[in-house]
């Protein structure tokens, strides 16, 4: 007998940038579309959300988008319109539930499955901390920290149904790639030219990297998402980037992209030879893209991000040709560790490794995709908890 899909409330507080709401939105769509869940998403910053989902009407408090019921999370909306919890209530990324929702958790005869959805990590401790149902000290309810990750013992990664098949079909079809490129203002694929997408933080060592690319003499096309590395690009080329325009500087063509939707960004990752990705959503998407990536990890005080970076490398790049691994590690250290930017290795050494990196990334992407995704694991966990609670 197939159990009905659970209903789920997800609360998302936008801290900075678009990463958190981007992850939540993908996840909600996967829960609704692939798992059949009734999902209510509460987001406190509709300006940020609208950049990710252009069909969002910022003037409406409630709306349905792609089978998800979207709420503007404000005290007024919660007070007026939140009348009861779903089967499961999720705090995304350690946000705190509104007081009214907190109160309602204890009012249901059978309490909802209460989950704190954390950021993903490949660190080994996640395996032993994931999904441990824990008695909450002040409410007496059960609450569970759910950790997305890369192993069978974690919550897995968001991957909607059919994603890998769509990516493989796209990568096998040059005509489809070029048609898509034309639609977003990127020139067609060209033999002998390396395409690199550059999505990075403002503090990243873009200029040393560009100098390295220039020294390599190899023809390179850089695809730069709107608003990224503007100052560094201006200093290097002497021209302030304008979305939709191209700047040619020596052997590098700078393609300043218009703002891309999540689907279009996926296609960018699928069609570039190397992807610089920042934060967590774009890293996971680059894993599914099966192309080499340099992870620009979100910087934390006391270098707390560094073990997380290397845990990912040790997981994803395990078994890579040692020489390429050394170059990749060195480059990633330079890209992510403060004070190491003067150690820039010649970019041509990284470019020379791209075929080996791509073969490895394709294989690891498929191995990762053989595991259940985050939505599947979360729904299974919720069902199990609902069964245990009777």
């Amino acid at each position: 007998m197939t159990l009905p899909a659970p209903s789920i409330d997800i609360f998302c507080h936008v801290v900075d940038n678009l990463g958190d709401v981007g992850v939540c939105w993908r996840f909600c769509k996967a829960l609704a579309r692939d798992q059949g869940c009734y999902v209510r998403l509460f987001v406190d910053d509709f300006d940020a959300f609208a950049k990710i989902e252009p069909s969002l009407d910022k003037t409406r408090e409630i709306q349905h988008i792609e089978s998800v019921e979207v709420f503007h999370w404000s005290h007024m909306v919660i007070d007026r319109l939140y009348h009861g919890c779903a089967d499961a209530v999720i705090e995304a990324f350690a946000c705190h539930l509104p007081d009214k929702v907190n109160d309602m958790l204890t009012l249901k005869p059978v309490p909802p499955v209460w989950i704190d959805l954390e950021y993903m990590s490949a660190e080994s401790w996640v395996d032993t901390h994931h999904a441990i149902v824990s008695l909450h000290p002040s409410t007496g309810l059960n609450k569970t920290l759910f950790f997305p990750g890369f192993t069978e013992r974690t919550g897995g990664l968001t991957r909607e149904k059919g994603l890998i098949e769509a990516r493989q079909a796209f990568q096998a079809d040059i005509t489809a790639q070029n048609q898509w490129r034309e639609s977003v203002g990127i020139p067609a694929r060209q033999d002998g030219v390396t395409d690199i997408s550059l999505f990075c933080y403002g503090v990243s060592p873009v200029e040393p990297f560009l100098r390295g690319l220039a020294c390599s003499g190899q023809p390179v096309r850089l695809m730069i998402p709107a608003g990224v590395a503007t100052d560094a690009l201006t200093r290097f080329t002497g021209v302030r980037p304008v979305p939709g325009e191209t700047v040619v500087h020596d052997n590098i063509n700078f393609h300043n992209l218009i703002f891309l939707s999540q689907d279009d960004y996926d296609r960018l990752l699928w069609s570039c030879d190397l992807n610089f990705v920042r934060g967590e959503d774009s890293l996971v998407r680059s894993v599914w893209a099966g192309n080499p990536m340099i992870w620009d990890i979100y910087k934390q005080p006391e270098r707390a991000h560094i073990p997380k970076l290397w845990a990912f490398h040790d997981h994803f790049w395990a078994g890579l040709d040692p020489e390429c691994r050394e170059i990749l590690d060195f480059f990633s250290a330079m890209w992510n560790e403060e004070g190491r930017q003067d150690e820039m290795i010649p970019a041509h050494r990284l470019l020379a490794c791209l075929p080996a990196l791509r073969d490895h990334a394709r294989r690891r992407s498929l191995e990762q995709a053989a595991q259940d995704d985050l939505a599947t694991r979360l729904v299974a966990f919720i069902r199990e908890q609902m069964k245990n609670q009777g």
């Binding site: 954390e118 990590s121 441990i132 569970t144 950790f147």
Partner: protein, 187 residues
């Protein structure tokens, strides 16, 4: 009230009307994730074990219990025997010791926790000095940023230490987080 991050092995808390002894606590922090504590508990009434994972800013009701200053003497089967300054002996079951076993050495000073007149568990000093029994040699020229490596103590417990630490060196450890603090100062 105590924050989860302040709870240590040997502390007792109340949850849902039960008195729970913390027998093991583990701190983890990475990237953007909230810092978390993983605890193992033992119910003082039923003896049943349980565990939980909490954000470090979660608040718990802790229970103040009597403490006595003691030193570890010897193991007697599954019990560990401690002695105070007046040569009174106190036995603590292995089941209630978990975290402490990582650092237990003869004559180690610590505090025994008493509950209803009986010895219950021990609390370790916040900082301890221990000798590294084994660790891999440092890799020369390692510039990858992976600067930590495992080091084994006499109890068999391993902690992460900087690459420059060598076998035989004494190091200071924070027992709350199991983290290396520094090279021990030579007396």
């Amino acid at each position: 009230m105590k924050f989860a991050q302040e709870l240590r092995s040997g502390n007792v808390i109340t949850m849902n009307g039960n008195l729970l002894l913390v027998t093991k606590s583990e701190f983890s922090k990475s990237g953007r994730n909230a810092s978390v504590m993983k605890f193992k508990f033992r119910n003082l009434k039923t003896g049943s074990p349980s565990e939980g994972v909490y954000k470090t800013d979660e608040k718990f009701d802790d229970v103040m219990l009597e403490h006595k200053e003691v030193k570890y003497s010897y193991a007697d089967g599954d019990n560990y025997v401690f002695m105070d300054g007046e040569y009174n002996q106190f036995e603590v079951s292995k089941d209630f010791m978990e975290d402490a076993l990582k650092y237990l050495e003869e004559e180690m000073p610590c505090e025994i926790v008493m509950y209803e007149g009986k010895p219950l568990s021990i609390e370790l000093p916040v900082k301890l000095v221990r000798e590294v029994i084994y660790t891999e040699p440092a890799v020369k020229g390692d510039t990858s940023g992976k600067v930590m490596k495992p080091a084994r103590l006499a109890t068999g417990h391993e902690i992460a230490v900087p690459a420059f630490i060598e076998i035989g060196e004494k190091i200071e450890i924070d027992t709350r987080t199991d983290e290396y603090v520094s090279r021990a100062k030579v007396a």
